[in-house]
């Protein structure tokens, strides 16, 4: 993450700093309000439906419109603060002068994309004004205007950051370099077009990788590649890309992300996190790597509540990470383990991935729900082994072993906090709220517990918490929006048919097919952002699986985990950056640690693939 520029001393930079502060304050206030309003809107929906049997038909639509605004304005805040996720591993290793240039380039490349897309975003908003939203019956321009507004504000914020940078030369070079690159690609367009599907490699591997390693934020790396691919090699009107951003960023299920982030902050602020962690530490603190086991177990329990992995993480990381860091855990290891648990828990019901597979293939969703429990345990065990290995020499000689009496006392204090995940889970299982809405119940519970039980509720910290939530949300959801656009580019090329044919032709019967499926879905999960990979390839691959004698539920587990490994592994996996953002740890730091966990997941996956019983042993048909 970029460091704040030093206080500028000369005219232009000073003026820029002043404007930036004013703009930043206004946008931050708006985003804070949006987060708070979202909580109220969704909460009102739950209360009206569950308590008064009078559902509000407009609450989802309003929440979704506000969510797009929240994400776009959050992305502005993130850009202003330099909080868009990026890989700086390479950037940090080059000589200082080149590094300054690359830092500037990361910004000018982002600005370049925003300049290219802004006219199309305006056109998109204009076109959407002809649509009347179905619930509120207002012009859809109210929603769509969030895109050009956010992009324009990002442009201003980006421009101001360049001015604030204070040194003229690297900025000028970066601007010229960016312009030259855009020009070069534009000129090369006619030569690229005849390459056909080879362009998928040029843009979605070549350009993405170059940008990512040059330190361009992940979202903008995806966006630039997608824009280049669509505009230079297809006849797609570019407002389609804006439409993809719209759909990718306002998917209601993702609203759980900001709400769980806020919930996590709330748990921390009210002291509930501390109570919880002290109790858990008293139980497991004297076990080597104890809290890492808690992390794995907690993800297994929470997973399937929110419907979004990143939301699950948002509820857990703020509780566990501060204490784990205090006990000497390396931040990179925490990030790596968190990301790995994201992949490990993909098959735990009620997983949106399982429902998607059931809907696009012929497999029973109920069977998938049953089948998913044990495979996730197997992969969890694989992660436990790595933790055990890594922490086997941890020095715990100074950690006192608490007495039963002390543990009991801590348990009493922690009880209302420990109850929270069960309250949330019960609210979902008992049908009080949907996966998206349930976070509001958690928030309400935490507010009450904070005010009445723990008596710790710092009102002054609320605005800061809301803005933090919005900034994180913007950084995460904007990546997802850009990944959604990228997936569209890949999908519309029709490459899936060719690939499926290729995979079906792999020799080796059942094992050959399972092997190539694992490999393919790891890559597809990574470049297609998870679920789109399932939607695209599920219908093509499941019939082949059946032909070669693989049980469909078994096959589902194999491809979900493979997809998950791709999704949560760097350098392309969106899930990995989500985990980094949530845990506020630089993505670079996790690189050293993640491969051990990913290897363990892969071994677990091979076991699941080799032993069908793990997936289908409990099915009653």
């Amino acid at each position: 993450m970029a460091v704040e520029a030093p206080p500028p001393s000369f005219g232009m930079a000073r003026l820029a700093a002043i404007i930036d502060r004013l703009l930043g304050g206004a946008v931050e206030a708006a985003t804070a309000a949006l987060v708070a309003i979202e909580v109220v809107v969704l909460g009102a929906g739950v209360v009206a439906r569950y308590c008064f049997h009078a559902p509000l038909v407009w609450s989802d639509e309003l929440a979704s419109i506000l969510f797009l605004w929240l994400s776009m304005l959050g992305a502005v805040v993130a850009l202003r603060r330099g909080e868009h996720m990026r890989m700086t591993g390479l950037v940090n290793r080059v000589p200082p002068r080149l590094r300054t240039l690359l830092e500037a380039f990361a910004l000018t490349a982002s600005i370049g994309f925003l300049l290219l897309i802004l006219p199309h975003a305006l056109e998109y908003a204009q076109e959407e004004s002809f649509i009347v939203t179905p619930a509120l019956e207002i012009s859809n321009a109210w929603r769509a205007a969030a895109l050009p507004t956010g992009m324009a504000l990002m442009l201003v914020a980006g421009g101001l950051r360049l001015l604030r940078a204070g040194s003229f030369r690297p900025v000028a070079i970066a601007i010229v370099l960016t312009a030259l690159l855009v020009l070069a690609f534009w000129l090369a367009g006619p030569a690229l077009k005849p390459l056909g599907k080879l362009n998928l490699l040029v843009f979605f591997v070549g350009i993405v990788a170059t940008n990512v390693f040059a330190g361009v934020p992940i979202a903008f790396s995806f966006a630039l590649a997608t824009f280049g691919y669509l505009s230079l090699t297809t006849s797609t009107p570019m407002l389609v890309m804006v439409g993809r951003l719209d759909e990718g960023m306002s998917h209601l299920i993702l609203l759980a992300v900001p709400l769980f982030i806020f919930l996590g902050a709330l748990i921390e602020m009210t002291g509930m996190a501390r109570a919880m962690i002290q109790f858990l530490a008293s139980l497991l603190g004297h076990v080597r790597g104890g809290l890492s086991y808690v992390l794995i177990g907690a993800m297994y329990l929470v997973s399937g509540i929110s419907g979004s992995k990143i939301a699950d993480m948002a509820a857990i990381a703020p509780v566990l990470f501060p204490e784990m860091k205090k006990r000497g855990a390396q931040p990179g290891d925490l990030l790596a383990l968190l990301s790995a648990t994201g992949a490990q828990t993909e098959t735990i019901p009620p997983s949106i991935v399982l429902i998607t597979i059931g809907s696009v293939t012929g497999v029973s969703i109920a069977a998938l729900f049953t089948g998913g429990m044990l495979p996730a345990l197997v992969l969890g065990a694989a992660l436990w082994l790595v933790v055990w290995w890594r922490y086997r020499r941890e020095d715990l000689s100074r950690v006192p072993r608490p007495t039963a009496r002390e543990i009991l006392k801590l348990a009493l204090v922690a009880a209302p906090a420990i109850a929270l995940p069960f309250v949330i889970r019960a609210a979902v299982v008992e049908g009080v709220a949907t996966a998206t809405e349930v976070s509001t119940i958690g928030i309400a519970y935490s507010v009450v517990a904070g005010l009445l039980i723990y008596r710790r509720f710092d009102w002054r910290r609320l605005p800061h918490m809301l803005v933090e939530t919005a900034s994180l949300t913007g950084a995460i959801i904007f990546i997802i929006g850009c990944a959604t656009a990228m997936a569209w580019g890949l999908t519309q090329s029709g490459f899936s048919q060719d690939l499926a044919k290729l995979m079906a032709g792999v020799p080796g019967g059942t094992w050959g097919f399972l092997g190539v499926s694992i490999l393919a879905f790891i890559i597809l999960g990574s470049v297609l952002e998870g679920i789109p990979a399932i939607v695209l390839f599920g219908p093509l691959m499941f019939p082949i699986a059946k032909q070669v004698g693989v049980h469909e539920v078994h096959y589902a587990m194999v491809v979900i985990f493979a997809m998950g490994i791709g999704l949560f592994a760097p350098p392309f996996g969106v899930g990995y950056y989500g985990a980094a953002a949530i845990s506020k740890i630089n993505p670079d730091e996790g690189l050293k640690f993640i491969w051990g966990y990913m290897l363990a997941l892969l071994v677990g996956l091979l076991l699941v693939a080799a032993v069908p019983w793990i997936s289908i042993g409990f099915l009653n048909s």
């Binding site: 639509e61 998109y124 299920i253 949907t434």
Partner: protein, 317 residues
């Protein structure tokens, strides 16, 4: 898979995006139409089909077909009503008694009225609509035999002014939920009921989490095959004729498929544990009349369109 190798590389590639599984009759017949088009144009025109929302949700695909991101889209009547409100008129509650009435309306004057509205917003529409089916109600707690059974029933409906107004007028508590949340919401009983054509109940596996299926036929649902105006104009006239014929004739076949499918589905879903019951429309219609539903929608669609509808189905308001 059985696509014949075209004589030469396609000059025109058309993208057809839709929201149904590849196994749905709509996709099977569309694939046949694509094959036929490739054959009859000597491979000049190629239609790529993207089922299952691969290219986006309904509202996004509508925006894509308007801008030209995709060329063809099977617009559900309620989806496209956000752009051309008149389209919703074919979904008026308990309007059509049977398929004969449906087809004579949408192949005739009512359909022409709707297609003219699409033309005004720059979309070309093939003459023959495709079938999605009459919508039926499934519940987890009770069979719906009369309007009274709907009282305060928490039922998920797709968000549309018409659908919501219909169930509110019938005394139910309609709830808006994304389709992707419906299975879980029914399982955990966030809502007790949902309504969809039988084919959707089957493909989305809703029978796994529902007990009753009441054949209310409360609303007919179909698809307009809409075509991006610009790419339609750019198609040579000879190809226009071929593409039109292929899609319209495939549409007629798809209607027959779906009718047959609905009969077999009832048996299939019964075997999977859904308890079916049939209902009579009169009681529901009376309740709607009493609640002023028909009058309200007559006002919203205008007297001209409403009288065209009543010309086929008889007096409603």
């Amino acid at each position: 898979a059985g696509l014949p190798r075209p004589a030469r590389a396609a000059e025109i590639t058309l993208k057809f995006g839709n929201n149904l599984p590849a196994s749905h009759p709509l996709n099977i017949r569309a694939a046949e139409a694509a094959e036929r088009i490739a054959r009859e144009t000597d491979g000049r025109v190629k239609v790529d089909i993207f089922p299952n929302n691969q290219l986006g949700g309904d509202t996004d695909m509508l925006s894509q077909v308007r801008s030209g991101g995709i060329d063809i889209f099977n617009a559900g009547t309620l989806v496209i009503a956000t752009l051309a409100p008149i389209s919703a008129i074919t979904g008026v509650g308990f309007a059509f008694a049977n398929y004969d009435q449906v087809w004579s309306a949408v192949d005739g004057p009512l359909g022409n009225l709707i297609r003219a509205a699409f033309a005004k917003v720059g979309l070309h529409t093939f003459e023959k609509m495709w079938d999605n089916g009459f919508r039926q109600i499934t519940t987890s707690n009770r069979a719906i035999a009369a309007p009274a059974d709907l009282a305060r029933l928490k039922i998920r409906v797709p968000v549309s002014p018409m659908g919501i107004a219909l169930f509110q007028a019938l005394g139910a508590s309609p709830t808006s939920l994304q389709f992707s949340e419906v299975y879980s919401a029914l399982q955990t009983k966030v809502v007790d009921a949902q309504e969809n054509p039988l084919a959707i109940v089957e493909t989305a596996k809703l029978y796994e989490v529902q007990k009753f299926c009441s054949l209310t036929n409360h609303s007919w649902d179909g698809y307009h095959m809409v075509f991006n105006g610009r790419s339609w104009r750019n198609l040579p006239d000879a190809d226009k004729a071929i593409v039109s014929r292929a899609f319209n004739e495939a549409g007629l076949q798809q209607r027959a498929d779906l009718r047959k499918l609905n009969e077999t589905l009832r048996a299939q879903l019964t075997a999977k544990g859904l308890a079916f019951n049939e209902t009579q429309p009169e009681g529901f219609q009376a309740k709607l009349r009493e609640a002023g539903f028909y009058q309200e929608w007559q006002g919203r669609f205008g007297n001209e369109a409403w009288s065209v509808l009543e010309g086929t189905v008889g007096r409603l308001a």
